[in-house]
Amino acid sequence: MDNNELIELQKIIKKGGAGTELATRQFCEGIKDTIKRMLSSISYKYSQEYLEWGTNEAFLAFRDNWDPEKGKYFKVYLWRYVKERVRTAIAKDKGRELSIDVSLGNDDDEETSTIKDIVESNELSPEDTYKISELSQILTNTFNGMDSRTQLIMIAYFTNNSTSREIGQNLGVVHTTVMRNLNERGIKPLRKKIVVFFEDQDLKYDEDVVLNALCNFLTERGIKDENET
């Protein structure tokens, strides 16, 4: 089941009505193996009850929290957010004082987030907004400085969802060369600039800032420049 199929299923489920049950069944069947792997990774003994629990958590997150418009693969969403919910729920079942509102940091640290915050909080401070804007601009400049082949690969791979094999066929190279170029000349320079950005300003690496900057880079500049033409 790929991400596009999941998006369609989510639409049906959110809409409600006759197709909901079938869509829910398809979803549960599709993610069953991933949930099993997730349960074994949490290191708790596998049981049918936990499988149902995990599937239920995944379903609620899928229906209520996952926003495909933000571009996230549901697969990553599962491992980054849903796994934590499942782990916490199982831990609670084992008698620990945990819930989805529990602090993720030290108990005496009032500023730390809760799982609920991670999943639902979208608020950004003015300082973070400024950092995102700065970093976004740096990433845009880095992208614009890449050679044409790297830009073409980045666009085809991430924007047009072409596979490395398809891109390789068009460029006359093998797919492993495409992947190597994508990583060495596309992804690594962007990551390097991000690290330098935080180091130069003596800031702690902030993943939220990075992820927000990545989600926004290129877009504003492209539209503005085209409209000016």
């Binding site: 980054r80 085809a156 991430f158 924007t159 047009n160 891109i167 190597r180």
Partner: protein, 261 residues
């Protein structure tokens, strides 16, 4: 940690796989215990989201006509990085929203790389001819390379008829005419020979090749290349030879090489 870190390339493959893929098992086993790889995965996910958003905006600009399709002058300028920064941004913005231009640019990039690699002259002529046949509307984006290749071929006793036609090249009296009499007629020349090909109207697989030596010669070695090379020695009578090929079309001839004997 029980399992090794995943490379960016492995994580990209993991993201490509549909959810629930069996191959994902070992990756997920590692993800379960590794914040670094989860962080890498999120980075890739966000990068994809950013480029996808960029692509959607670009697509709107293309569909509304604000972002125009790339011209044949813009494509080589972009690939060779001789356009200014604003032009580059404009081109990249278009490419992100236009699959057709993106595909065309990759094809031009591909053939340019091929021409740069260590191919023989004959292979270069064949590759560029195939490109001209496959992408006729983009042929002029390689005008410079096409003309250079024709000049180099002629210096090496070769007349690349397919390229001459694709790039409308004319030199030393080269001519394209005969449409009025229903025959396809082309003439090109090297330092030592004038070579003509005539395809009589209505006889598709039949071509007449005329060779005229500029000096007093009795024999010449002629190599005709369609998909493969075919060589032979021809006798020149009054400096001329006529070769009648019944099994090939003029269109299929990539080059003819005529050497002094």
């Amino acid at each position: 940690m029980k399992t090794k870190h995943r490379t960016i390339e492995e994580l990209l493959v993991y993201l490509e796989n549909p959810i629930g893929s069996k191959e994902d098992g070992t990756v997920e086993e590692h993800l379960a215990e590794c914040d670094k790889c989860i962080s890498d995965l999120s980075f890739l996910d966000a990068l994809r989201a950013g480029l996808k958003e960029f692509g959607q905006n670009s697509r709107r600009l293309v569909e509304s006509g604000i972002s125009a399709h790339l011209t044949n002058e813009e494509i080589p300028g972009y690939i060779k990085n001789v356009c200014n920064e604003d032009e580059k941004i404009k081109i990249v913005t278009h490419l992100a929203g236009c699959d057709k231009c993106s595909y065309d640019v990759m094809s031009v990039e591909n053939i340019l790389e091929q021409l740069k690699s260590e191919m023989t002259l004959g292979q270069k002529i064949i590759s560029l001819s195939q490109f001209a046949i496959k992408y006729p509307v983009r042929t002029t984006s390689l005008k410079k390379e096409g003309n250079e290749l024709i000049r180099e071929a002629v210096k090496n006793c070769m007349v690349p008829f397919s390229l001459g036609r694709a790039f409308s090249y004319s030199f030393r009296g080269a001519d394209v005419s005969g449409e009025g009499v229903g025959e396809e007629y082309r003439k090109m020349e090297t330092d030592d020979f004038i070579i003509e090909i005539i395809q009589p109207a209505g006889k598709e697989a039949n071509v007449v090749i005329g060779i005229l030596a500029k000096g007093d010669l009795e024999n010449a070695k002629v190599t005709i290349c369609t998909e493969k090379e075919e060589s032979g020695i021809v006798s020149l009578v009054n400096r001329r030879a006529i070769i009648n090929k019944k099994d090939i079309e003029a269109e299929a001839i990539r080059y003819i090489k005529v050497e002094k004997m």
